[in-house]
Symmetry: C2
Subunit: 462 residues, 2 copies
């Protein structure tokens, strides 16, 4: 076990040059989605490879059919410590509309915004160059003080995250043995708030289905046929209305198989966050939770499955009125999954339910979209507990374990293809304006982020 | 009472010149919706006025802010006979797509289609120039033989029926005393089939409502908010699904007030028409009646009220998938009314039902469209019975009294503004392709149509 006090002190001393190194990386215009910046993307990969080399990593640029990956290995000081795979991405979003930026997006700066707060401005500061550099600079402080790292580390930096990661799965597959570790660290998420660090332990899965209900072989006049001919919009609305019962539970057969109740201590910790239905929904003009009755909004969005209609259309939708009975009606429906809910089983249950409600002279088509299970790091996993304690030691408030309602595909890929769980820790804030003009990252996020990784690596090494 | 045998014989003799007169009218390109044909519309009105003048009518072109009306009066031979208002329209639909016409739409022709059938081709042959000329030529035969008409007749020909009749109501209002009669004859409907004439005795009314359900003040990410934030598409589908119970009845409070059961003898006469669910719905690819259980398709479409969703839209409706929770969802809903159902009461009942199902943090807007009561000529009215007998004497099969699922606004206007019921008799067939390329009218419809009016006028005069 290392005394990390001098490592933390070294990180503090390094901060000016840590910022210099970050700014070098930020100046590289690695916009992955725009072919005009292909060379810049390669330059980003090369810069990282070179820099990791100076920190004792065996680093290389690895070609793909798209933008290259960076893979780097460090053996670490102890064979008993776990092997960790750190993931981040060096590509960034486009900068349009450029006229809305207050500063050149590729000329990073430090801005004093008053009240002692400083921010780093520029494209990629928060998503994800600033975040991935917190880890790199933590490694640098270790190297400077200890000469090695407390764990065996493999780093994977991707250059296509902002353009759909087309090369990622084939690369993981082709290099599975090289990349497989005990678990992954992913630094692409946010804190709970400015003072409260967070570890995300759960991501909901997703099943999408488009359904098309067909009745008559043409649009009908509702005067001539109304009351006798099947109306596919009626059929569709009845089907969709039947997805929930009056308590907000989803009615599909077997839907809750694999859904477990959130442990009381986890729910209790969420309650301490102070999020109420009013505060959570008030931001978007609402106030009454709509889902399962008797559960908090955090539980509803982090730990409970859902069925949502994302789109619906049929019949006449223009100005005025047309008394038509449509031939077809369509909807896009998605299910967010938790626990061990099986996407294939849920898709089949939904289809069976729909089919059982289609009249004998009508028909239905299904078009699948997506199908990924929930990701779940056990609330009591040792790694999660260690990371939580390490973060709590660094920040003003204790770390919280949060769920995430959305999905991060890489986490599913690591689990499915490499059999590896992920620990999601990040230092972004909800107002960082990622993907938008005037993206920023708090100087505190960068500085304390570096210090946080030093603590986490030390904790995980034990 | 006149012996009509010579009048009918005269109509037969007149047929070649009756066709010449119709063809003169058909050559006038009176497309009311296209300003380029404004002069042609006036020409149509003038042609009719001149021609009616030659038949002993006091006829005039009457200006409106749009296309002119034709109003013509004939005192008739007997002060004891009823005063009748005959309505038709001289304007026609556009002819696009012109390339699908086999003949010039404004160069009418007689075509032999085999099996002894001849058809008149061209725009307006069936809708409505051919139909209105059946009445005019019946008057001509009377004038030729008797020198007068058996009833006092007022004729109203409109030139804006195909473009929404903007001038009609103000014209009826301004000329109510001149136009009010004992009842109206409207010749703009169809026969039951080639051999079976029909009198339409009921038209359903219509109430339309567009509803917009609003939830959050912006579109939300279903990962972040799904399960907690209200989804307006869910709310809307639940509301719409609740409009019908499991027997197909509409659930709104008071909805069936004013709906009476169809008399058994009327239902029995409909049964003799031989229409089955399979024959009626089979034409459009369906087979199972969708509305109230235990009623025939003719009863469902002619004599029962309905609630139909004519359009629905909300959320993401493009290619692929977007896991959005929409801010708004909308639908267009219409109710077909029968009997004495009150459009205003039904609109209010619907709105109250919708409002009671909107969560406290969401809102709903309503946009009314239309609102007309059902029109209903008593099944046992003397005029209807007389017309039925007269038609039965002319055609191979006895006339049937039918309902019409749709609406003909003029009929409601006559009732509301002039306190006058309408008798709807027409000689179109369902394959006349009105509003489409290659519109036609059967030569038999024209010839026997003229003869039918001779018989009807005689019958009504008694």
């Amino acid at each position: 076990m290392t005394d990390i006090t001098p490592v933390l002190a070294r990180a503090d001393e390094n901060l000016p040059s840590s910022l210099d190194k970050l700014f070098e990386l930020l100046r590289i215009k690695s916009i992955s989605t725009d072919p005009a910046f292909k060379g810049e993307c390669r330059k980003g990969a090369e810069w990282l490879t070179d820099y990791l080399g100076t920190l004792g990593f065996d680093a290389s640029v690895r070609d793909t059919p798209g933008h290259p990956m960076v893979v780097a290995h460090h053996a670490g000081a102890s064979a008993d410590a776990p092997h960790l795979l750190f993931y981040g991405h060096y590509d960034v979003q486009p900068v349009d509309p450029i006229e809305l930026w207050e500063n050149d997006p590729f000329e990073p700066a430090i801005k004093d915004v008053g009240n002692g707060r400083k921010i780093l401005t520029g494209r990629g500061t928060a998503d994800d160059k600033g975040q991935l550099m917190t880890f790199v600079e933590a490694c640098r402080a270790y190297k400077d003080v200890v000469g090695s790292l407390p764990c065996r580390i493999t780093i994977l930096f991707e250059g296509e995250e902002e353009s759909g990661s087309p090369s990622l799965k084939p690369f993981l597959e082709a290099n599975a043995d090289e990349l497989r570790a005990d678990y992954a660290l992913v630094c692409d998420t946010s804190m709970w708030d400015r003072d409260t660090p967070a570890v995300a332990s759960a991501l909901r899965g997703l099943v999408g289905e488009e359904i098309v209900v067909s009745a008559a072989d043409r649009d009908l006049h509702s005067g001539l046929f109304g009351g006798a001919a099947a109306n596919p919009i009626h059929i569709l609305t009845s089907i969709l209305a039947g997805l929930h019962d009056e308590t907000g539970r989803i009615t599909l057969d077997g839907f809750y198989d694999g859904v477990e109740e959130t442990p009381e201590n986890v729910k209790a910790s969420w309650e301490t966050l102070g999020t109420t239905a009013e505060s959570f929904l008030g931001e978007v003009g609402l106030s009454i939770p709509s889902g399962e009755k008797g559960r908090s909004v955090l539980e509803l969005t982090w730990a409970r499955p859902t069925a949502e209609i994302n789109g619906i259309w049929g019949g006449y939708t223009g100005e005025g009125f047309k008394t038509v009975i449509a031939a077809k009606a369509s909807a896009k429906v998605s299910f967010r999954l938790v626990g061990t809910q099986d996407p294939a089983a849920i898709r089949e249950s939904f289809r069976a339910y729909v089919r059982s409600n289609i009249p004998g002279d009508c028909s239905v088509e299904f078009h699948p979209h997506g199908g990924s299970p929930a990701i779940h790091l056990a609330y009591d996993s040792p790694a999660l507990t260690k990371a939580k304690t390490a973060l709590s030691d660094e920040w003003p408030k204790p770390a919280v374990v949060i769920g995430m309602g959305g999905s991060i595909p890489i986490v599913g890929d690591f689990q499915k293809m490499l059999g590896m769980e992920s620990l999601l820790v990040g230092f972004g804030l909800s107002d960082d304006r990622i993907h938008s003009p005037n993206e920023k990252y708090e100087l505190t996020s960068y500085h304390k982020g570096i210090r946080s990784w030093i603590r986490i690596l030390e904790a995980l090494a034990k």
